[in-house]
């Protein structure tokens, strides 16, 4: 029987400031190379597509202005079906602004409080300093000890509550808040992170983890066929060297 996945790219027109669309390209190609069918649906402002019908959901980062533009739509239009998808173990990757919006709240540095979707137990506070640079973290998300490489560029500082676990421990860079050495958050099959780069091209194991979760949820036990990742691995190593040399 042929497998197929429905991948939703949330706000591709508004939340794609740092090449985050690369993540969707990688999920798509790595599924297609394995003979898994892919349907990509782009969902933006006002669109009432039922997100609970999607296997993988991706949302990237945007500028402050774009983020405030989608904030209302995110909670009021997408909110309930997105929360339903997350609670039902859909594979979700949310980066930077998308990650912040899934959390409980965002406190601006002027003290204003903006509510988030509140589906994952994190909250964010606006900082005065931008955290910018290469990042390396260590993660045991897939059960083994892996590294993730990426580039962070955020002024919000995110803190984790007890309902989530960090995606990884910071080896180099700032991560969630520049203080507690955590980076990202994981809740069920939802991953939130500050890592751009794009993230998945240089960390194919994370792409495969998301694909695996999505397939297993839909079809039961599934093993992904191995791919030739020589180029991806060498880009991963180059980013490790680069972060180490700075």
């Amino acid at each position: 029987m042929g497998y197929s996945l429905r991948i939703c790219h949330l706000y591709p027109d508004l939340m794609n400031l740092y090449g985050d669309r690369g993540n969707v390209m990688v999920l798509r190609q790595r599924a297609l190379w394995r003979g898994i069918g892919v349907e990509i649906i782009n969902v933006s402002l006002g669109d009432r597509t039922d997100l609970a019908e999607c296997d993988i959901i991706f949302v990237g980062g945007g500028q402050d202005k774009e983020q405030s533009l989608i904030c209302h739509d995110f909670r009021m239009v997408k909110g309930s079906s997105l929360a339903e998808a997350i609670e039902a173990d859909a594979a979700v990757l949310a980066i930077c602004g998308g990650y912040q919006l899934l959390g409980q709240k965002y406190l601006t540095h002027t003290g204003e409080e903006m509510p988030g979707l509140g589906v994952i137990d994190v909250w964010t506070r606006g900082g005065t300093r931008r955290l910018i640079g290469n990042v390396v973290i260590q993660s045991d998300l897939d059960g083994s000890d892996q590294t993730l490489v990426g580039f962070e560029n955020h002024s919000g500082q995110t803190f984790l509550g007890s309902g989530v676990r960090p995606l990884g421990r910071v080896i180099s860079g700032n991560g969630n808040n520049g203080q507690d050495r955590t980076e990202g958050a994981v809740y069920r099959n939802t991953v939130g992170t500050y890592l751009h780069g794009s993230l998945l091209p240089k960390n194919p194991w994370l792409a495969d983890w998301l694909l695996t979760q999505a397939l297993q949820r839909k079809y039961g036990e599934v093993e992904l066929a191995a791919l030739d990742d020589e180029l991806e691995e060498s880009a991963h190593r180059a980013a490790l060297r680069r972060a180490g040399s700075q």
Binding site: L17, G22, P201, L231
Partner: protein, 466 residues
């Protein structure tokens, strides 16, 4: 006798000597001199620049600063003005100061009509504070080096802050087709505005590309309706909600025909009549640069004949697009630094089927932008079917580029990774036959390194000799 205070005079001499020293030792450092001179006298740029008889023109924006300012310098030159121009592209405050030090005589006297200064967006407020700026030209605002400035709106805010500090009556030349640029300085009704834009449906594109940055109205957040799009988010737009729309261009490009790869035919319309010109630079993006320069030159009183002559001899500017004969082969180098610019370069190269072998060289140093995420916003998918038979990727981030091409659908057999630029260049040249062209697409610091390599082999002049 002397134009400078004693303190600045000493700083100026120190700066002069540093320039000599840098040239003598073979380092083309263009900002070191200005940096030290400013440390010795913080007012040195003010004192040097106030000697420009008609003041200083600042050219800023994401893409096309260097080409536009070079074209404008040439137009002003054709009209008989003497112009001081920071032509090596060093556009931060230190580099700008160096340009003035290099040009002034040993007694500190500067003899020129206009200072024509390419200014980095974030340096605009300081540039306007320190120099007697009488005109500002803004080319466009795209995403570029966001790791340095944070976000696109921050970039616009920098330019706007500079514009707000302009003296009354200053000329403001703005790209009407770029929604964010057209709105710059809207609080200053006393400025003399000139809008430039394209009025030629024939060159419009079918749809927005992924790298389009400003599709939504900055006033109310609604999506613009475009009646034509030229590239990225540049076009004829209107906001359906608040009715903010493209201002009517004062100077418009009413016709564009690409004759050969490096030759286009332009028709330009001004309030006092139309004229036609041949532009010896490739691509629509260069037609925009030509139009921008022509619009400001026209407002400054330059005759159409001088504008036409300048466009006809444009050739190409340092580093942005250049052709270097290397023995019996040809090197064609085009700078890539952000998604919109790179998309235009790809579109132009593919339309002309240029080069069977390409080198794409990506560094992530400060001047390149330390975040290579932008590679994922470039539509490299166009290279999957057509395009070069072999692509050698090079530079510090060669592997990132290789992965980008792989996911764009370029077969991995066509991709070779060679981090060392010298070896990538040799491998590329070995692939092309005599008489053929090797296409090289470098980021900024790769371009500097490549020029140095080519110069060492005796094929091109070093850049400060240009």
């Amino acid at each position: 006798m002397f134009q400078l205070s004693l303190e600045s005079l000493f700083a100026f001499w120190a700066g002069k000597m540093l320039i000599k020293l840098a040239r003598w030792t073979g380092h083309g450092g263009t900002s070191l001199s200005g940096k030290w001179a400013r440390r010795l006298s913080p007012t040195i740029l003010r004192e040097l620049s106030r000697q420009c008889r008609h003041g200083v023109i600042c050219v800023t924006g994401t893409n096309g600063k260097t080409t536009t300012s070079s074209l404008l310098a040439s137009m002003l030159g054709q009209a008989g003005f003497t112009v001081l121009h920071n032509r090596s592209g060093a556009n931060l405050i230190f580099g700008i100061t160096t340009a003035f030090i290099a040009r002034a005589r040993w007694n500190g006297r500067l003899d020129c009509d206009y200072g024509l200064i390419e200014v980095d967006e974030a340096t605009m407020p300081q540039a306007v504070r320190e120099m007697p700026v009488t005109a500002v030209l803004v080319t466009n605002v795209f995403r570029d080096q966001l790791d340095r400035y944070g976000e696109l709106d921050t970039t616009v805010a920098y330019i706007d802050r500079g514009v707000r500090e302009l003296g009354p009556g200053a000329v403001l030349a703005l790209n009407a087709d770029d929604p964010r640029v057209a709105a710059i300085g809207s609080s200053r009704s006393d400025l003399d505005r000139v809008y430039f834009g394209i009025d030629c449906r024939a060159v419009a594109q079918a749809e927005l590309t992924a790298a389009a940055d400003a599709r939504r109205c900055a006033n109310c957040g609604n999506e613009f309706e475009y009646s034509s799009i030229y590239y990225a988010h540049l076009g004829d737009y209107i906001c359906p909600a608040c009715h903010y729309r493209r201002p009517e261009p004062t100077v418009a490009l009413s016709g564009l025909a690409q004759e050969t790869f490096r030759l286009s035919h332009l028709a330009i319309k001004t309030p006092n009549g139309s004229f036609e010109a041949i532009l010896t630079l490739p691509g629509l993006y260069n037609a925009y640069n030509a139009l921008a320069a022509a619009a400001l030159a026209w407002r400054l009183g330059v005759a159409a004949s001088a504008i036409v002559r300048a466009l006809g001899v444009a050739g190409s500017v340092f580093g942005r697009t250049e052709e270097i004969p290397v023995g019996d082969r040809n090197l064609f180098m085009v700078l890539i630094k952000n998604p919109t610019g790179a998309n235009e370069v790809l579109r132009t190269l593919l339309a002309q089927e240029t080069g069977r072998t390409w080198v794409i060289a990506i560094n992530d140093r400060f001047a390149d932008g330390e975040d290579v995420s932008w590679l994922w916003d470039v539509d490299f998918e166009c290279l999957a079917g057509a395009g070069p038979e072999r692509i050698i990727v090079s530079g510090i981030r060669a592997e990132d580029m290789a992965v980008r091409l792989k996911y764009a659908g370029v077969p991995v057999e066509r991709i070779a990774v060679e981090n060392e630029l010298a070896r990538a260049l040799d491998a590329g040249l070995a692939q092309v036959s005599p008489g053929e062209t090797l296409v090289v697409l470098p980021t900024y610091t790769c371009m500097l390194e490549l020029r140095e390599l080519v110069a060492q082999r005796g094929y091109a002049r070093r850049y400060w000799e240009v």
